[in-house]
Amino acid sequence: MNATALIDAAKDGILTGSVYALMATGLTLIFGVMDIINVAQGILVILGAYLSYALSVHLGIDLFLGLLITIPSLFVVGVVIERAFIGRLKGPEKTAMSILVTYAVSLLIEGALNIIFTVNDVQLHASYVNKSFLIGGIHFSFIYVAGFVMAVILLSALYFMLYRTRFGVSVRASLADQTSAALVGIDVRRVSTICFGIGVAVTAAGGMVYGATNAFNASTSYDLISRLLTIIVLGGMGSLGGAMIAGVSMVFIGDMVGVLWSPVWSTMAYFVVLIIVLLLRPQGLFGKPIARVA
């Protein structure tokens, strides 16, 4: 096997993996803070991609510029979903119930997207989408590098928000103990809503990059969600850096197996690694060692 292929596989692993990380970030944030497993995340990524698509095709708005519109729009979508459904869930079965509720929400959105955009596959286009640049004889795709940079920026911003701001303190306080947080005057309800909104909003960026690198329609979301879920578990649920590392590992492991052996075993190799890691470290790579209450 030639060295270029291996270097390419490593590069692709890091770049495309970061796009998956970008899509998974919201999922891990929502789980980490709220104990909510949002299986609608897959379709929300696609919703973000479609929003970017509509803006660029109908209004001629650039993909990156469009994020200034799509990110706030998805924030609103997230807030609405949280207020209407998620926030009403209570009790010990909250996590399990959240899977059901968000699954139903994803069906609704899928049906609506099919009607609005039809089921024909589309892809986001811009002059720079297919462009790449050379560094040291290796081609770097512009859009993937942009995705990588956005992933790093967004993850850092979220990290900063959680650990360096007043809001972050109240988020983490609510996470640790809702009752005590409420007692010291934190509006737990509001914190949850905003958190969910942010978690959904960041998928707009992931959706844009995904839509620019893959042709998609609403049913693409099914492929996405299972991958996103395994990423956040491998990384450690609630861990932002973990999501990044896990996203990159997922693609990297698959690529290596594809280059060294055969692409048909790529997916399986990742899942085997996932099983082994979880058996050795049930909390995931960067998860908190104490298991959450089910």
Binding site: N114, N120, Q123, N130, F216, G254, G258, P263, V264
Partner: protein, 416 residues
Amino acid sequence: MNIRGKFFRALAVSAVTGASLLTIGSSSGAASSGTLAMGAPVKIGISLSLSGDFSADGLAYQQGYQLWAADVNKHGGLMGHKVVLDIVSDASSPTQVVTNYQKLISTDHVNLVFGPYSSLLTLPAAKAVSRYGYAMIEGAGGAPSVFQAGLKNVFDVTLPVANDLQPFAKWIASLSASKRPTTAAYVTSNDPFTQPQLPVAQKIMEKAGIKTVYNKVFAAEQTDFTPIADAVASAKPQVVVLGAVDVPTVSSFMQAFEQSGYNPKVFIATAGPDQGSSFLKAVGAKNANGIMVPNSWYGGSANPMSKVMVAEYIAKYGGTPSGVNADIAEAYAVGQTVAAAVNATKGFNNAAIIKYLHSGVVVQTVQGATSFNSLGQNLNMTAYTFQWQGKKFVQINPASDANSVKALFPKPAWGK
């Protein structure tokens, strides 16, 4: 215990109401007798994937079937009966497709059925339909497994896929030594539709001295093709033969090739580029230039029936002949084949239709001459190779065909 009692009563009641709900509006199904009352419409039942994995093709098939029905009705219907299409969605699920055809036949009492989209759904559907003695005429179940099942009622109006790449490979092999590419890559999704096609081409091309530098199969459920595309690119083959079933796969490979600064001299994909405007929309019109695809029909076909159909399609949905998805013609040809059989047998008796289509008779459709062997395969058609040249989708071989134009070779640079 009283509580439990009530609760089980609720269960029993719901079971009974469930049962009675299902009974409403349904009576025992019987195969249609073949005669229709004067003025009664003829109902044709179809299950299509209007959501889920096959929905893009399902939608195109729906358009093709509807276009055919509108045409027939404009000309007085089938044997004087107005055609009514009864289309139900199977959400790309083989379980639902079985339920759907049973419902169409036994509840809706359709007179005839047309096939669903994809070999994966055609086989379970055809098995269920055959128990009712109905003919299953379809345009998208061309995988070898469909014909190996030994069903007597399946007729595929489209050329079986296995030999689709033959004219292409022969063309490459026939190029003069100075022009002929020297290396090729074969990469395919492990799908029953694509996998049988590539070895046929590989054998011919290797015989002509074209070295295989990459030959790999990737998983059908793969979502990220960049690493495979990069691996192909780093092997620098002059010809890429890609076994793909859909547009997203082809567009991912094209994008990754461009991004890694690699441009093959020849790029052919088993499906995707034949999807007309959907393909252009996904890959961008400029990048499509030079991309090839094997098939038995294209929007520019000189077939007079096809010309009429294409004109009608454009009048209804807009666009250009090049933008018409090949699925449309496949669906339309299904309708035409059935119509020919109905007219010849003077009725809607499925047994008579099956017997007629097995008789070796040749039916003319938008896709060309259609006749069936004992397995229900249509071996009467020619495989062509098509190519995107600018925004136009043209036929490039076999060279012997008058409609073939000169191939754009080598493929221009991306975006040019």
